[in-house]
């Protein structure tokens, strides 16, 4: 069954080429993208079942044996992340198709949207499956280059100018990663993760520390860990709503995934766990304090995104099975929740004409469904029982209490404060956008997207003759509702999911299953 392993990378790449050729036939293009991402989801689910039954699956790409050739490895963690990322990318794709169809398809950037989006998903899958540090770098580059294009889609002034920050910061992180690669190779003579696991152990402690610090620096920028997070709230909100949603849900989590791999497979233990915990605390608190001060929904959500990266880092920093399991669970939960919230924010922007909370109001009365798809994930994010956010946080706090060191207790307290402030931040959004009386400038029931845009002093959509300009098209609401349902369902399957993330964490900490899957006769 190992032929399934490279599929999540190959299928979107081929489909990207195909959709590029089909640029002039949007209907076919959409069908291909949806079908392929659906297939990726199916493959990812199959991989999850297979890996949890038979252990990690390994493919030697190009037929060369492991240390010389490149391997793709699907273990429990990678398969789990693949399933979640495929779910999210598929939902967001449908949402963006809905948005595109409702607004008319005439705009030029649309023909590159599908290929770029597919390449992004291929890059994410490649990063998850990489069994080789250099291949991880290539995966990162694929997804980053695709994300540059998506972020500056259309080449409008705001996107180009604010996108610059993102591009330059990402480039810097890639260069740091590349430096780390060069140093790791010079020190060990290999980049194969399974082989590195053994060879890095043999290095002197100081050299190991330097290598670890360089790699964590690179991954920390991608994961938006404080103090390397300032780029995120500036650049994410400018992109189109679906793009922001998929970036927020996935891209930082790829960084978190890389940190998990580095901390378990390459550098287990070691003196860096303490500093990681401090950074986790700062990320949580600084992020959420930023969110509290915002008056725009998307920017506020970007700050909560940064803040909750801290929770995952908390679990990783505890470096034990319970902490790591909770971190993996939290990552799964957070990908779904954050994407849903950004999709809901996109709907709010569409319905209300703005994301500025000062100019919104009464949306719960205007569109109760919109209220529900915002409120449920928002409460989930804040960690209200019985949602998965609560369960994830309980897992993390338990792990922290079990650890028992003063630093862990500080983090437990910090986590509680962050949850409270998150609740405050999202409650403020709820209160001002949905609950209070409608704002004077709010669109009424008879308005269309065109009149809303005209009132906001913006150009109406190019051609309104052949589409209704519906305020909340079904294809946009549908995926948002679906993801909300998934996020609620995470509570229902929390038991099995915790078992799965526990098993994944145990595999990661033991390291043997991964290494043995790549080198059945022991690492050379």
């Amino acid at each position: 069954m190992t032929y399934l392993v490279p599929m999540p990378v190959i299928m979107p790449l081929l489909a990207a080429a195909l959709t590029l050729l089909l640029g002039r036939r949007p209907r076919l293009q959409r069908a291909v993208s949806v079908a392929v991402l659906g297939a990726v989801l199916a493959v990812a689910a199959a991989l999850l079942v297979l890996t949890s039954r038979h252990g990690p699956l390994v493919v030697e790409v190009g037929g060369w044996a492991a240390p010389l050739g490149i391997v793709l490895v699907a273990d429990r963690l990678a398969a789990l992340m693949l399933v979640v990322s495929a779910t999210v990318t598929l939902a967001v794709l449908v949402y963006s198709i809905g948005q595109g169809m409702a607004d008319g398809e005439e705009e030029a950037p649309l023909s590159v949207y599908h290929p770029t989006y597919l390449i992004l998903s291929a890059g994410v899958a490649n990063a998850f499956l990489a069994g080789d540090l250099f291949n991880l770098y290539v995966g990162f580059e694929i997804l980053l280059v695709a994300s540059y294009v998506l972020l500056t889609l259309g080449g409008t002034e705001t996107r180009v100018l604010l996108g610059t920050t993102y591009v330059v910061v990402s480039l810097l992180s890639s260069l740091v990663f590349l430096t780390g690669l060069g140093l790791v190779y010079a020190a060990t003579g290999t980049l194969n993760l399974a082989q590195l696991a053994g060879r890095l152990d043999a290095l002197p402690e100081d050299i190991r520390l330097i290598l670890q610090a360089v790699l964590l620096l690179a991954f920390g920028i991608k994961a938006a860990v404080f103090p390397l997070s300032a780029w995120l709230p500036d650049s994410y909100p400018t992109a189109p709503a679906p793009v922001t949603a998929v970036f927020a849900g996935l891209l930082t989590k790829v960084g978190v995934y890389a940190i998990i791999r580095a901390e378990t497979l390459l550098f287990p233990g070691g003196p860096i766990a303490g500093p990681l915990l401090v950074l986790a605390l700062l990320t949580m608190l600084v992020g959420i304090l930023g969110a509290v001060a915002q008056s725009r929904i998307k920017r506020l959500l970007s700050f909560t995104l940064v803040s909750h990266i801290g929770f995952m880092l908390f679990g990783i920093g505890l470096a034990g099975p319970p902490g790591l399991a909770a971190a993996i669970f939290y990552a799964v939960h957070h990908i779904v929740i954050q994407t849903t919230l950004f999709l809901a924010a996109g709907l709010v922007e569409r319905r209300g004409g703005t994301t500025d909370m000062d100019r919104l109001g009464g949306l719960a009365r205007i569109s109760p469904l919109l209220g529900v798809v915002f409120l449920v994930p928002a409460l989930n994010l804040a960690g209200i029982p019985p949602f998965s956010g609560f369960l994830g946080k309980v897992g993390l706090l338990q792990a922290g209490v079990a650890d028992g060191s003063p630093l862990a207790w500080t983090l437990v307290a910090g986590g509680l404060v962050t949850s409270l402030l998150t609740l405050y931040a999202v409650a403020r959004v709820w209160d001002r956008v949905f609950w209070r009386a409608p704002h004077a400038e709010m669109p009424g029931p008879d308005d269309t997207v065109h009149t809303v845009r005209a009132r906001a002093g913006r150009e109406p959509y190019p051609d309104s003759a052949d589409h209704a300009g519906a305020m909340l098209p079904r294809l946009m609401v549908g995926p948002t509702v679906a993801l909300t349902v998934v996020s609620v369902a995470l509570t229902a399957v929390a038991g099995p999911l915790f078992e799965l993330s526990g098993a994944a964490a145990a595999d990661l900490l033991e390291r043997v299953p991964y290494v043995r899957a790549v080198f059945p006769e022991g690492a050379p």
Partner: protein, 150 residues
């Protein structure tokens, strides 16, 4: 593994120059910085293999061989840097087309705070009663000016 001093110094100078250029405001200079930094890192990777020897097996002259893997990695890295440089150039050009320069803008939050300070000192720049923080280009920070597609 040994390497030679001139080589190490070259790597250091390239990376230092690259970082300096990266800190500039103009995107074109940033691009130069990325290229210098990238080349420095490529040389660093190269020094991970044996320097100065041919990477081709089978010549059988009795000389030591260089490790071909770092060279393969550098080729990949060069291709990636090329693509990214093209993208940055396009961005700089687009920025120049739109606003007449290619300078990286201040942080959104910085501009908001600067706006608030200016208002406090009565230095509002003619925007009248529009509250600071929602003036000028800041209004568009959520991407409102462009087509919302896709």
């Amino acid at each position: 593994m040994t390497t030679n001093l001139v080589y190490v110094i070259t790597v250091g100078v390239l990376i230092a120059a690259g970082v300096t250029m990266l800190l500039e405001r103009s995107l074109t200079r940033v691009l130069m910085g990325v290229i210098l930094f990238g080349n420095g890192v490529n040389l660093l990777i190269l020094s991970g293999g044996r320097l100065g020897a041919p990477p081709i097996a089978g010549t059988d002259t009795g000389e030591p061989l260089a490790d071909p893997l770092p060279q393969a990695m550098i080729l990949t890295a060069i291709v990636i840097t090329l693509g990214v440089s093209a993208f940055l150039l396009a961005m700089a050009y687009r920025s120049w087309q739109l606003v007449g320069h290619d300078e990286v803008r201040d942080d959104v939050e910085d501009r908001r705070i600067a706006g608030l300070a200016a208002r406090d000192q009565g230095l509002d720049t003619g925007d009248g009663d529009v509250p600071a923080g929602r003036t000028g280009d800041d209004r568009d920070q959520d991407g409102h000016d462009g087509p919302e597609a896709p």
